[in-house]
Point group: C2
Chain length 309, copies 2
């Protein structure tokens, strides 16, 4: 698909907490080049984003002359500049209308807003980056632009999102990935092994039940070894199954979705595969859409929408 002679039309960046992924796109939104940088917002000193972008990102992709569009935590107060959230319901036009331009001494960049919703029981919730992935998923699936759809972006903070007629109407965040990280690194459930034991993962899924009483369910990861003679090598897989299973069991209902409502998973394919397995164990159908593809399509759609207005 790549045509090396194409002049990049757009520099698109998904600039998150831990990583920056950047692509140059041609006039049709096709990827010319892709690069990743260990330049997450968490690693940036205050005021540093602009300089790293101009000195490192643009040259690495030979994109000194292309206008840029950015999404993710780069639009937070830890990033380049704080972009106000778009309130729910938020569709592509709403997000494009709230793009904020920043000056970089060259063709400039625009940063996408995040989205703010009512969250769990009205306590409020926010996302930055996933809204652009959802818009990209919609751009690639014109048939989904009407009707009600349940989307999940798994990760450190999994975002379960309800999409109605092309707009994000509500979402909740489950800190499933972060629970896995802190428990596998810092608790009595410490587990060095990778998530590579299908039987232990399935046992964790089964132990997740309806997702309730999680503090007690989690201890079964320890008790099954100490009291039940299970192999400790499967610890990470069991813990992952337990946490993902509990997330899959409990989160759709928080958005008023029936347990059998199909789920569109957007994210890293292997992690999405674990979620799909957890949903399948509950009789729920799921499809997977690559998170990088979704970000590219969403950023391109946002740029084109703004150009059109």
């Amino acid at each position: 698909m790549r045509d090396p002679t194409s002049e990049p039309l757009l520099l698109a960046c998904d600039w998150g907490t831990t990583n920056l992924r950047a692509w140059t796109l041609d006039a049709e939104g096709r990827v010319l080049q892709a690069r990743a940088f260990p330049l997450g917002v968490a690693q940036l000193a205050p005021g540093e984003a602009r300089r790293r972008f101009v000195e490192e990102v643009r040259p690495a992709l030979a994109a000194e002359g292309a206008p840029a569009i950015l999404c993710g935590m780069i639009g937070s107060n830890l990033g380049w500049t704080a972009i106000p959230y778009a309130p729910c319901p938020a569709g592509l036009e709403d997000l494009a209308a709230r793009l904020v331009a920043v000056e970089d001494g060259g063709p400039g960049a625009r940063i996408a807003p995040g989205v703010r919703g009512d969250g769990f029981s009205g306590q409020g919730d926010v996302m930055r980056g996933e809204e652009t992935q959802v818009m990209g998923w919609l751009a690639r699936h014109p048939d989904r632009r009407m009707g009600r759809h349940l989307v999940c972006c798994p990760g450190t903070h999994a975002k379960w999102t309800l999409v109605q007629d092309g707009r994000i109407t509500g979402f909740v965040t489950a800190m499933t990935g972060e629970l896995f990280a802190v428990l596998s690194q810092h608790s009595v459930l410490r587990a060095d092994a990778a998530i590579d034991d299908p039987e232990a993962f399935a046992a964790g899924l089964a132990a997740a039940g309806d997702g309730g009483a999680l503090a007690a369910r989690l201890f079964t990861a320890r008790a099954r070894v100490v009291a039940g003679g299970a192999d400790p090598a499967g610890g990470a897989s069991y813990l992952s199954g337990l946490l993902i299973g509990a997330d899959a069991a409990a989160s759709p209902g928080l958005l008023g979705c029936a347990a059998d409502m199909p789920v569109s998973l957007i994210g890293e394919p292997r992690l999405c595969g674990l979620y799909r397995q957890a949903l399948a164990a509950r009789g729920t159908a799921a499809e997977i859409f690559d998170g990088a593809d979704a970000a590219v399509a969403g950023l391109f759609a946002l740029a084109r929408m703004e150009t059109a207005t």
Copy 2:
């Protein structure tokens, strides 16, 4: 109560993962001296327990001549020697029959067994130390030696225990305290402040709901600050309320107990007070019994039971 002229009859130790608490007792089980040592099993090198006990604990309490009785993780494979668990149902006689004597070059020591149960959904569960506290609570409440009682020992790993006619018939462990520790130290919910904000604690209790969907409920601790404008200084109190509230909501049912079944809390009085508040918010009555008093009474009862047989 203390009579400094009494010759100690017994050296009683609750020797856990992080601390060792020791008491000398007179012939009636009254405390003559109490000492705490930062000598938790987690800090001991293999084989070190006996030497530290003989060289530090006995002299500090002037108890070189008293027989000793020990409970807690000192009876695990990380402690002095591994003592087999007593199976449920386990009462005072069952535990006393399984005391194991260890040689210390002096009057010797006996170590109490832990208890093994079916745990959550039959995956097995274990306790070491709490069984002795439960026996002490029973010793101090003769009216509880018959009937069915729900006991909770809050802590790093909260033990919810069902006691029927004086014997432990089942229990589940909720890793509530450890979740608080790892989340407040290592996650996006990092909170330096103490649990000292009653309003934030009450808000956390309210947010605990039925205890389900915990990974999503936990993120409200972040979202209420980022999206809802709550004061981050209340973060530790809110997180504590959320976790203790979820534990109080979900755990009794795992043992087949009705939500309004009264709970006897055994442990550190301030932590027990937080649990009592969480239970009261759900309409459940609770009483508090000091964990150190329970350990002393349980160790004395075990020693006396063995003497009697």
